[in-house]
């Protein structure tokens, strides 16, 4: 295959089965660059934002796909366009504000080249020069100097884009199962942004994705969840893959754990610790089933979290091999009543940069990066729990979801494919 070959060592996955992930994939600069090209700028659907973030014509919001900056824009016809935030002239960043309204045109502040909300070049100052001198050549073709325009698809208010012409339609890429669970949360009700959180986490971006595909850790690391029954490995649960194994959804039902006192050998620091204010962990049913935690990971860059009533997209922005940004967009629905609005704000304490649950995650990811960065060549992560395969199942003591991620990863990166 034509996988990245950073040195004479060649394909670092050669000869390894699904249970090994060479640590090099988390720290190698050449592999990282190949990931940007083949994954983020390749045939994948990347999260861009929510349609409700740009309600009016000309509204824009700035974001990232991989390391490339993009703008999500509401067009005149009500549709959404996504263009690269880079002027076609000299490459300057077009919009500096995080969000705003561009009016009818996007104009570069440097030389005032102007573009339609679709990215077509419409005008530039002194096109004909000054007093018959200077100016653009007569054969300068404006139609060839628009902004980089991405293909856009929306699914019930959520906007995805791809740089690649060959990416299959999003419902095909996700597959029926993933669409089904995606539209469980994004069920067509009008969305409302509750607020954002952004944080730099000094670990490779893949570790963030893997963390949400690792139910094993959730029932061990997160003592807060274990203590309050918000997540236990013995709860009624299920997880599913798409065909390519890169997308997954994992669900659990609170209150189905077998025995309050059985922690499966996990060392719980303070098993008697209780909350004096229980409101934080009292969810309200809202999706017509008994699922209390649903985590969907969509390859390569977004996680949809529905823990109790705290709903959020977690968007991964890679920042070099050893760092990434995590952007949380907490959302609710326009028709949320005031009690639900309060619940969403209150339960946000579980998540985000200071979250009762997720601060453990950010810390553990940094422990991972610190540990593996100095590992010798050939050293690899071990993923042997629950076999070698990646099939849907109902036991959370498993590493199947991470194995699935690397099946898709090896495939799209051009590394040797792994057969379980």
């Amino acid at each position: 295959m034509d996988g990245p070959q950073p040195d004479k060592g060649g394909d670092i996955f050669a000869g390894t089965d699904t249970t090994r992930v060479p640590f090099r994939v988390y720290e190698d600069q050449d592999i990282y660059k190949a990931e940007l090209e083949r994954i983020f700028y390749g045939p994948t659907w990347n999260y861009v934002g929510l349609e409700c973030e740009v309600p009016k014509e000309g509204d824009f919001r700035r974001n990232f796909i991989g390391e490339r900056e993009i703008l999500m824009i509401r067009k005149k016809d009500g549709g959404i366009s996504v263009v690269e935030n880079r002027c076609a002239h000299r490459g300057a960043q077009l919009c500096q504000a995080l969000e705003g309204n561009a009016g009818e045109t996007l104009m570069c502040p440097y030389h005032q080249w102007s573009f339609t909300l679709d990215g077509d070049l419409t005008s530039m100052p002194f096109r004909r020069g000054f007093k018959g001198k200077g100016g653009f050549p007569k054969d300068f073709d404006m139609s060839k100097h628009g902004l980089t325009r991405l293909r856009v698809e929306t699914l019930n208010g959520v906007v995805f884009a791809t740089f690649d012409r060959t990416t299959p339609p999003i419902t095909e890429d996700f597959g029926d199962h993933m669409v089904k669970y995606f539209t469980r949360v994004f069920n067509g009700r009008k969305l409302r942004v509750v607020g954002y959180q952004r944080q730099i986490i000094d670990s490779n971006w893949k570790l963030q994705m893997e963390n949400l595909k690792d139910p094993y850790h959730a029932g061990i690391l997160h003592l807060f969840l274990i203590n309050f029954g918000l997540f236990r490995l013995d709860q009624k649960s299920a997880y599913y893959f798409d065909e390519g194994k890169g997308h997954t959804v994992l669900m659990t039902e609170r209150g189905t754990e077998s025995d309050e006192g059985d922690y499966g050998g996990v060392k719980v620091a303070a098993p008697d610790f209780t909350l004096t204010d229980h409101e934080l962990v009292q969810p309200r049913k809202e999706f017509g089933d008994d699922v209390t935690l649903a985590i969907q990971t969509l390859f390569p860059s977004v996680i949809v979290q529905a823990q109790s009533n705290t709903l959020a997209t977690r968007h991964i922005v890679p920042k070099g091999p050893g760092s990434h940004e995590l952007i949380w967009t907490f959302f609710g629905f326009e028709d949320d009543d005031s009690e639900m609005r309060t619940l969403r704000l209150r339960q946000a304490n579980l998540m985000g940069s200071a979250g009762y649950v997720t601060l453990d995650d950010a810390e553990a990811l940094e422990f991972s990066q610190l540990g593996l960065a100095a590992a010798p060549d050939g050293a690899a992560a071990v993923l042997e729990i629950d076999g070698k395969d990646a099939q849907s199942g109902d036991c959370l003591v498993t590493e199947a979801l991470i194995r699935g991620f690397y099946m898709r990863y090896r495939d799209i990166m051009g590394f040797e494919k792994a057969q379980p």
């Binding site: 995080l98 942004v193 607020g195 952004r198 003592l223 934080l280 907490f330 209150r346 304490n349 453990d360």
Partner: protein, 166 residues
């Protein structure tokens, strides 16, 4: 010579001095790692929130932390001590002077800028955030307490997790 219309109000000076002392006691408790003392700086019904300025400017109250009673603060303190996994760190709050924005029947509205530095076990220091305390301070049994403390931070892209209260 300019005429002084209003004699300097000794009470205002006293109030500022007392609020600044409260702020110092508060940040020193946190910087000393005495997290169990943290809830004691607040009234029983209170608001403690750490919110990005970016959210507030959009009218969004979503915070990194948001607690509405001293009981919830006690929960946070206990959970941080017994149910959280994180690398050891110390904080250093650097405060500006405090401006007293209003004194009325609700209490004292005070505003203080704060830079919060965080140092790891290896001794590396980073600026965790540049922020402003927007406080409502009340007096109870002769002592000043926070009825509201909002930590409004400019540092939208936080460089690390927020483990401790700020």
């Amino acid at each position: 010579m300019d005429q002084i219309d209003t004699p300097l109000d000794a009470d205002t000076h006293l109030i500022r001095h007392r609020v600044e002392q409260l702020q110092l006691d508060y940040v020193h408790a946190i910087d000393d790692g005495a997290i169990d003392r943290w809830p004691g700086f607040f009234t029983e019904r209170c608001l403690y929130a750490i919110i990005a300025r970016d959210n507030l400017e959009r009218g969004q109250e979503l915070g990194v932390m948001r607690f509405e009673s001293r009981a919830m603060l006690v929960d946070r303190a206990t959970a941080t001590q017994h149910a959280a996994v994180f690398a050891p760190r110390t904080l250093c709050h650097v405060l500006s002077g405090t401006s007293i924005e209003a004194v009325d029947e609700n209490g004292i509205r005070a505003r203080t800028n704060v830079a919060i530095y965080q140092t790891s076990a290896d001794g590396d220091t980073l600026l965790l955030m540049a922020a402003t305390y927007r406080d409502l301070v009340v007096e109870a049994d002769g002592a000043l307490l926070f009825k509201e403390k909002r930590v409004i931070y400019d540092t939208l892209r936080l460089p690390d997790s927020v483990v401790n209260p700020l």
